[in-house]
């Protein structure tokens, strides 16, 4: 017996530093139609209140590892949107 892939994925989206300020949250739960990518998450966040101020390119990580816009997401993944790094 084969299970059908779920029709949606729900993602925990983390916002940091300036991005958290822009959106007014540091965590969002976002549900998207499957299959979804990091690019889809960024587009969804842009449509949130304050999200239009995000820069054209947004650095992202999935489950603690840097990812690209094309990275595919599974239900329950943690997607972090990372402002320009300024450590050191």
């Amino acid at each position: 017996m084969t299970l059908a892939a779920p029709a949606t994925v729900t993602l925990r989206v983390l916002l940091f530093a300036r991005y958290a300020e822009l959106l007014g949250h540091d965590t969002l739960a976002i549900t998207l139609p499957a299959p979804a990518t990091v690019g889809d998450v960024v587009r969804s966040v842009r449509s949130e209140r304050g999200g239009d101020a995000l820069p054209p390119r947004v650095l992202a990580a999935v489950n603690l590892v840097q990812a690209s816009d094309a990275t595919a997401l599974a239900d329950g993944d943690e997607v972090a949107l990372l402002p320009p790094l300024a450590g050191g």
Binding site: L14, F16, A17, R18, E21, A61, L64, V65, Q66, A80, L82, P83, P84, L85, A86, G87, G88
Partner: protein, 148 residues
């Protein structure tokens, strides 16, 4: 590995960090300390706050140290401080110890460059004029962090 890579919320003790990597066979020890500066892009900074995506930052620091110790015969220890810092406080310390000083210099330099490039840490500066800004090293020069 993990035990020599830390995010800390207290002052960095460089001597204690160095003690973690020195050994009788490692006679050359190179330390980089990054201190909070009093100006940035022409504005006077009075204090600042570092924040991080902590689990990813720790993982990335550990990967950087692992890659470095695979490439050079060195032992490396790193601490990055988070939270509120004053001018002159150490924000980051990298210690590389090796039998040969050239390896220690190259490894230490490599680690700090990779930290700046890869580790998810952010810096919020409080200026003398009462304003506040997030540091963006990728921004245009007129508003960018002064290179360091």
């Amino acid at each position: 590995m993990r035990d020599r890579v830390r995010l800390v919320s207290r002052p960095i003790d460089t001597a204690a960090l160095a003690a973690e990597v020195v050994a009788p066979g490692r006679g050359g020890v190179v330390t980089f300390l990054g201190l909070v500066r009093d100006h940035h892009a022409g504005r006077q900074v009075i204090r600042l706050e570092y924040s991080a995506y902590a689990p990813m930052a720790e993982g990335e620091l550990a990967r950087i140290v692992g890659e470095t110790e695979a490439r050079w015969p060195v032992a490396v220890a790193v601490e990055h401080r988070l939270g509120e810092l004053a001018i002159g406080d150490a924000a980051v310390a990298v210690v590389a110890a090796a039998a040969h000083r050239g390896d220690a210099f190259e490894a230490c330099r490599h680690v700090i460059e990779e930290i700046k490039r890869r580790v998810p840490i952010w810096k919020r500066e409080y200026y003398a004029d009462g304003t506040v800004g997030w540091v963006d090293p990728t921004a245009a020069p007129d508003q960018a962090a002064a290179p360091r």
